[in-house]
């Protein structure tokens, strides 16, 4: 349904070349190339254990790859620490939601603004005017983001006390608060009911339309993948086996084999 918006002349936001990650002899990701273009929603799919999350972890700096490079907005970011990759403009969420459970929802989002603030130890202790202005700004951004995901009524609830679906949205809002250019979502729809999944899809569509943003996501729910992706990359056993517009992928025999051949039960 979605028209292939992918244009060759659009800027490449993220490019990985030949990344390889090995765990104790097992090649979780092997010689993997990926280009994400500006303004698109790219879905990375594949059966369990295909290495999708590992790719994400390499891109976001949680793992350092054995080989290969990650280039973001023209700069090499391979092997940099997660926090510095966030500052350069990549934000992510986790497959099994990782919020700061004993902090309030608003504080969770405010934490996202951390990398966009500068106040140091002295200005924080003495609450200098500059620091207060900055706090005010952090708070404003956080309030906008919490409103954007429609969680404002829960701003002062502890993150662990809100519903599961809301926690997913909160995590996305926290990622957005870091002011990313690329949003990396690891199975955002998992655990959501059909209604919440629908809401999520329209939320992501609105997001991409309204902000200068690119989205890279791992998804198992084929409805979501087909519904919102501009481009789909299929992984199996650490390698890319196919890529293309959603419709093309849907009918690709290799992909069907990868899914049905071995690992039917999932998704």
């Amino acid at each position: 349904m979605a028209m292939p918006r992918r244009l060759a002349d659009n800027d490449v936001v993220l490019k990985t070349t030949g990344i390889t990650k090995i765990f104790g002899g097992l090649r979780a990701v092997s010689d993997f190339d990926l280009s994400v273009h500006k303004g698109e929603i790219l879905s990375l799919i594949g059966p369990n254990g295909a290495g999708k999350t590992t790719v994400f972890n390499v891109v976001t700096g949680i793992y350092s790859p054995e080989h290969g490079d990650v280039v973001f907005l023209g700069k090499k970011i391979t092997g940099r620490k997660p926090h510095s990759i966030v500052s350069s403009g990549i934000a992510r969420t986790f497959q099994n939601i990782r919020l700061f459970p004993d902090m309030t929802c608003l504080e969770n989002i405010m934490a996202g603004q951390h990398c966009r603030a500068r106040s140091g130890i002295f200005s924080s202790v003495f609450r200098t005017p500059a620091m207060r202005r900055e706090e005010e700004r952090i708070r404003t951004v956080a309030e906008q983001r919490i409103a954007q995901v429609e969680l404002a009524p829960f701003a002062h609830e502890l993150a662990k006390n809100i519903a599961y679906g809301s926690q997913r949205m909160l995590e996305i809002a926290r990622a957005l608060a870091t002011e990313p250019r690329l949003l990396v979502l690891d199975e955002p729809s998992s655990g959501l009911n059909p209604k919440e999944t629908q809401d999520l899809m329209s939320f992501l569509k609105r997001l991409i339309a309204s902000e200068d943003l690119t989205i890279l996501l791992i998804e198992h729910d084929m409805n979501v993948v087909m519904g919102i992706s501009d481009w789909v990359v299929v992984m199996d056993e650490g390698k890319k086996i196919a890529e293309g517009i959603p419709d093309a992928i849907y009918n690709n025999p290799d992909v069907i084999e990868a899914y049905l051949g071995r690992d039917e039960g999932e998704a």
Binding site: P82, D102, M103, H114, C115, I121, S124
Partner: protein, 334 residues
Amino acid sequence: MGNGKSAGLSKLFTTTPWYVPVLFSALVVIYPFFATDYFIDIAFFFGIYALLGLSLNIVLGEVGLFDLGHAGFYAIGAYVTAILNTRYQIPILALLPVSALAAGLFAYLVCSPIIHLKGDYLCIVTIGMGEIVRLALINNPFDLTGGPNGVFGVDFPKLSPNLVIDSSIEYYFLVWAVVGLSILGLISLQHSRIGRAWNCIREDTVAAGATGINVRHYKLLAFVLGAGLAGVAGNIYASKLMCVSPESFTFWESCLMFCIVLIGGMGSIPGVLIGAAFISLFPEIFRPFAMYRMLVFGSVMIVMMMVRPGGFWPRKRGGVAFRSLLEDTGNGNA
């Protein structure tokens, strides 16, 4: 220890009723005028433990790093003060920032290589660090620390040549003024991006990194600040007792600080005060029990944890009780 600049801070006390800090400050100010020197001295040591508790609370309460070697930083502060004062006659108050810096620098140097360790592994390394400091003090390197005798003849703090802090009540106000200022500073920190970053690391280290927080930097910062504050406590302690010796900085002392934070409630400043009160007042109250008093002390610690496992005054956030890390190990080591 006025609440003078509380105008800007008032909104920070969102979850503690305003009258609690006001009443407490008033009590602190009035108390010594109605107490004997003995009770003032108890309150002085309460203040010292409050400082130590606050300093460990940064590391343990705010960031969730298990530090059972905090007495090492305390010792560095006390010994730097004692040595520089007795050898070079540098005034005690001038040494206050020096001992804080020395302890902070020491923390930076020793913690840098070990900061990546997790949970109990970090815990044993801090224990080892604390023990190394204590053993080094006993072994008298370069004839500096006076070995097991320690360093004696430490001076009184002098505000001016005529204004000497030498009575119990003056020491009391000195320590509580420092406690008061530290609390104001720490409350500010709790409500800044630094405090939030610390809490994020405690809640989920990986997520904190993925949210743009420089985990290593903020862990180190917590250690350095915590050590610096412990160094300040060491400075005041050294001049109060007029001598320092290694038996004041044992592993047991680190354990007491750990208990202060947990008995009070992790990350909670009023909690730290309550914990420090318990640790310093309890053994004094039970003096008449002589050899049984530590027996009682031990059992009460157990009972406290049964009755209030989250501490006496857990930190509140948004009106909901704050019980971090108490639930489970979460992302602890495997």
